[in-house]
Amino acid sequence: MGWQIIRAWTVLVYAFMFLPVAVVVLLSFNANQFGSFPMTGVSLHWFQELWNNDAVMRAFRTSLVLGLMTALISTTLGILASLALVRYNIPGRNAITTLLIAPILVPEVVLAVALLLFLNWLGIGKSFALLLAGHVIFTLPFVILVVQARLVSIKRDVEEAALSLGASPVQTFFAVTLPLMLPAVAAGALFAFTISFDDITGTLFWKPGGVETVPTQIFSMLRNSISPEINALGTVMIVMTVGLPLLGAAVARKLTMKGGT
């Protein structure tokens, strides 16, 4: 009896969480010209509209480039920071770790305004580079957390063995350390990409005039009208931000199984 209630309650909670998402996905295939029920047929019409909408496509490209660059820079910096924090006995290690993780803890609005004010004070205007820098700052903690955890589990012995066999420290990193932490690096990069790809708060503050990412594009489209195109765009976003990490996790698991530890 008790379990029945708990079960029903669980279903309700999940419904509450995912029903809106399901509705968006469902309506994106609606043939009707209004983005709402009732459905009058199944069509890919709104996806086609999306494809032909220059503004949306431009925003999509911007988001993609921004996400990829964020992932690349964040992952590189995250690996270097993790190596320094885990492998070297640097003074103030704990303080530095806290500082690097802080962007997760600080509300995003505060971070966004702070960075903007700081650059204003320096006399630097808004630019794509600023937007990128902002995204790197708040994706970096995720990369560091994931990569650091993995690096701790890689025994120093293995690297010392490589060194003793004649590999220089840099060669040891590329031949042993990096391959062993690859699953974490891939996970970190995916985190960085997806977080960057669907960020809106920081992006609204930092983006230069005329540049839109997919989330800010949706936001501005919603202000004019509720077009069914938005449903289609939402579906694309869901596929990217949910599908990519799932794919990544599967790849990571495969890599780990091959490598093993």
Partner: protein, 356 residues
């Protein structure tokens, strides 16, 4: 010429001194064991030879050349760790080939050398497998193959047998010694296990608290311990306060348990003259018997207090007057019972004497 020389080496970590001024010569081709309890500085010494730690003071020479400023990857050493440290993402063959790749060995030769190394460790068919598919003993053989395939100037072994099961450990001990003799590489072996040290070494360096206590052949450190620490660490010993009353071709010491004992001078090399001394009686040299001993063997009545039965051997704790002693005897049949009145037999030539 020595293969490795430690000259006035000191290693400090902050205010803690891990290795006190140590000078050590490791002869070419020898199997040298650094033996001691954990924290005695043996691993620190090994890591300094390897180049994984820098000495605070002193010089390290390998093949007569000072290597203090030579980084580990340019020292040409073979290193084997307690936990194997194989590369989990590489196959066994790739693991063994790793060092050859950084030595510009042609591809065709790499394959042949890897095959030879795997043959040497008697695992010729596992090249395509990943390390985790192998047992611990097999993994350690691969680690050994990986270290010797590069033909190192010195092979450094850091407790390589400690992670293995007891049975396997003894097999590997024989195997390791066989391989070392076959290729004749100078080997420095670190262990806390005295039986490993005694069985395998040409030379044992007994260490305690960052200092070298004694350097000698296995039978030297076993039979003629230079210090009380060595006497206690290698095997079980009874050590008594005594007085040296005669010091010449033979040394006569006097103690409360055995009375006057005439020790060969060779077994008291550090005793410089008459005066306070210590008498060392190995537990295996003290025999329990029902009857008094014949002429020439010391005989002391005693009572059995504790019996620790171990199969083919028994460890007794006995009381003789005020003193409690331990004796380890091989037995045919039944051990003496607790409370039995026995005679302790001791041949004077089996005793050693230390300065008091």
């Amino acid at each position: 010429m020595s293969a490795v020389t430690l000259s006035n080496i000191v290693k400090r970590f902050g205010t803690f001194t891990a290795v006190h001024r140590t000078t050590l010569e490791i002869p070419e081709g020898a199997f040298v064991t650094l033996l001691g309890p954990s924290g005695c500085g043996k691993t620190t010494n090994l890591r300094m030879i390897a180049g994984l730690l820098d000495p605070t003071e002193g010089e390290i020479l390998i093949g007569g050349k000072r290597v203090n400023d030579v980084p580990i990857h340019k020292r040409n050493l073979g290193l084997v760790f307690q936990n194997y440290a194989l590369f989990p993402h590489k196959t066994v063959a790739e693991n063994v080939a790793f060092g050859l790749k950084y030595r510009n060995v042609p591809k065709s030769e790499i394959a042949a050398k890897v095959r030879d190394a795997l043959d040497l460790v008697q695992l010729p068919h596992v090249g395509d497998r990943y390390p985790k598919a192998l047992s611990g003993g097999q993994q350690q053989r691969i680690a050994l193959a990986r270290a010797i395939v590069i033909e190192p100037d010195v092979l450094l072994l850091d407790e390589p047998l400690s992670a293995l099961d007891a049975n396997l450990r003894e097999d590997m001990r024989v195997e390791l010694k066989r391989i070392q003799e076959r290729i004749g590489v100078t080997t420095v072996f670190v262990t806390h296990d005295q039986s490993e040290a005694l069985a395998m070494s040409d030379l044992i360096v007994v260490m305690s608290e960052g200092r070298v206590e004694q350097v000698g052949k296995p039978e030297e450190v076993y039979n003629t311990p230079a210090t009380e620490f060595v006497a206690n660490f290698l095997g079980a010993s009874n050590i008594f306060d005594a007085r040296c009353v005669e010091h010449g071709a033979t040394v006569v010491v006097e103690d409360v348990v055995f009375g006057r004992v005439t020790v060969p001078a060779t077994k008291a090399p550090n005793l410089m003259g008459t005066g306070p001394a210590k008498l060392v009686v190995r537990a295996e040299k003290l025999k329990l018997a029902r009857d008094a001993a014949p002429e020439g063997v010391i005989s002391v009545p005693a009572t059995v207090e504790t019996v620790d039965y171990q199969g083919q051997a028994v460890r007794y704790f006995v009381r003789a007057g005020e003193a409690q002693l331990q004796a380890i005897n091989m037995i045919d049949d039944h051990p003496f019972a607790v409370g039995a009145a026995v005679h302790l037999h001791l041949r004077p030539q089996d005793c050693a004497a230390l300065p008091g």
